[in-house]
Symmetry: D3
């Protein structure tokens, strides 16, 4: 009997507690979850400070920390492509076969439903307090971002001085020469 697989894609800049709650809940609904790390090619900007590799570490260690059965999840970095009409095939190329997509994004929902996939709304959580934007803002302003993320995220950011990187990037640039 084939397994029921669902996919959930996020930029994870950085991995925070909201991601972990969503993954937990999706695992109650499917046999295996594919976790796509979106915009894998982006890094070193205020909105996307961390490389794909750094985000893979955060997520991998956070799931191991949490004791999630490693045969039940796949972590896949995904680069953007500039062709909406090829996006579903691109995701399929990079992932195990799946039948359900969890997304709240209208474009993603439209593209996958045109290809015959079942689209489900991702489980709810406290989105106002727990967002990548909130974590990054606290990092820049010296607030308590650590309470919003798993230990694995804290460890990786310390290992690479990620805190300093995002602060440096936030300094206003001098005008063009």
């Amino acid at each position: 009997m084939n397994k029921v697989r669902g996919i959930f894609i996020g930029r994870m800049q950085p991995v925070h507690n909201g991601h972990m709650q969503i993954i937990d809940k999706i695992l109650e609904e499917v046999d295996e979850i594919i976790i796509g790390i979106g915009s894998a090619q982006l890094s070193h900007s205020l909105k996307n400070p961390f490389t794909a590799g750094e985000r893979v570490v955060m997520l991998n260690q956070a799931l191991a920390e949490r004791g999630v059965d490693p045969s039940r999840y796949y972590i896949i970095p995904m680069q953007d492509i500039n062709f909406n009409a090829l996006w579903v095939s691109h995701v399929k190329m990079l992932t195990p076969p799946f039948s359900i997509i969890y997304s709240g994004n209208q474009l993603v929902k439209q593209l996958f439903s045109e290809e015959g996939f079942e689209v489900r709304q991702p489980p709810l959580y406290d989105r106002l307090r727990l967002s990548g934007t909130e974590v990054r803002t606290r990092m820049i302003e010296g607030g308590n971002w650590e309470e919003l993320v798993p230990n694995a995220t804290i460890n990786l950011i310390n290992e690479i001085n990620g805190d300093e990187r995002i602060k440096n990037l936030s300094i206003r640039e001098i005008s063009e020469i």
Copy 2:
């Protein structure tokens, strides 16, 4: 004796009556018209809802409907390239040899005139009422878009449920996870 060929490029999102009027008038001035479908790689967005293939059907059927002699036009989808300095060569690679370009766009006019082409202003029509923007707005808001387009456009949009696609895409996205 070689034929005089003119080229006219538009995004055709979707094909509407203004495009058909322009094509009619250009055919009074040249032997053959090349109709470029621009930004062929874009689809599934509010500004570019339809794929290149869908736009080719609209245009091809609208010209057949109208009884335009098929030996007098060429329909060519064209992807964007991000190098202005290569744009003229890119268009030439994809098309029959031509000598006149019809365009109201300053960049296109400048690029082609630097390469020695004759640039002509496209024939006038009622641009305020007949624009891609107007057609797409009416589709989203449930207005009468059908009166602005040829039957071929209506038929194709019905065949692919294009109406529903653009409405879905217009729903406000939930905030980033």
Copy 3:
């Protein structure tokens, strides 16, 4: 009622009588045919001497010459992409919706059948005498290539001095500097 559409893809370097026979026979089986001009980005080599635009002219004029109803065919140039797993979506993006693919190529057959398309063998014709390779060889060696192609191909090749182009390209290159 939706139309039955079939697709047939060839490099058409150049368009020859074999292509025209195949198109005729496919039109007996489907309502509309999509004719893909493959490897659209290639030109100016011994194996691919003609640009996409030049091949579009040959095919368009050959079909008009033959009196094929213009509402029954679509001519679409297609660039190669280096991702087999995205090829079917790429073709779908560029074309009207279709359900049948005509191909004798194992890779194409495999890719489309994995996506649920009906794959048919293209109609037979005299493939030994009528191939792009044979036409190009005769052009280089000064043989009678004209008997293998429709008039439209002869006209276009004369218009662009295509004969001279392929002969020049066949001169052995001097060694690298």
Copy 4:
């Protein structure tokens, strides 16, 4: 204290017992292993029959089967880039920070040693009998390929009819039209 991480890259077409032996031995030398799935963009050819996603499943399940501690490995699909001089940075972008590269390939060894990495020869195993080429040849010829691979590889290939795919791809193509 930072962990010692080593990286090992292979195309894994498909994952076989030799890969598993190498991974076991590397894990005796480092804290964490990064396993790169190379040429991730290739699939559906005789030399590269499986998509990146299919290879991820094989490897992920084979490691779970074997009981390897999930906090000690990372599986990262890697697309080729056509710039040797950017390869090391590309690998670094996609992976956790690492200091040792395991490779028997001269180009890879040269590129990484120019950037100051420690390069180690991958642990030895019976390379004559255990290679991707041998597995694929047996699949095409109907031999016993199953004895060369972990159960996870067998399961995935059965799930996607991979056996039939590679046999179909091996049929000689008819000549170009």
Copy 5:
């Protein structure tokens, strides 16, 4: 003994007196200067009117005019890449080995310092009056742009009618068809 080389990158749209002052001062600090012409692929827009080739002429002739020793500088056009994490390697691929980067841009500073380069602030000059933006604005509005640039820039812009190009590009485009 190896030479100390420093690199300075600018878009040079167009080359102006500020660039020349910076280059003079950097040459007091290093043995050889690498001058990168950034965004080499851009041209024919209001913000980037000139091609890479045109900018190379301006800079090359301005340095010869000034009598700078030709064995002490390198002029290298550099196309943008959309991967911040690969940018340093891309610059290294295109240039002689160097150890110091002169930049006032936070992203550039961060990327190069993560790779162990010494980052220095470019020498100061009168940035308010001497900027590419100021030169381009004066060209469009018919002001005295010539006083802000070296003779070589004036000569090249005259040779290619660059004045007319930027004026044409500044005409407001008619609305989309």
Copy 6:
């Protein structure tokens, strides 16, 4: 009065005495020479061992050594593009305006003559003894390659241990894992 400019393109792997002789002779025929460093993106292979930046140093220093007037030459690295029909525009984008192309390559000659350029055969020299292939072979086999190249090439290759690089790359690779 506009200057007569000629262009000469070579891969320069590495710069050798034949290149210098050609440049000398072309400078007797034109006011300014544009020297294109071809396949700029390639490096670290047996046929293309050196990066674009390394080749720029060799050429720049060799010309300074020789006392060639720096206002009379331009050195431009050029990446390959996979579209023959765009090649002429790509070269034009990267270079000062020119009217003559020096090339012995049939494809280059055909492409530029179709665009109306004057094509000249590069001046002759002893091509059997003086080729990039010969220099690279001697480097691998430990022969006297130094006598075939200018001092600038020797200096740069010593600075980067280029000798060792090409020897390492020539070691036969072990079979695929």
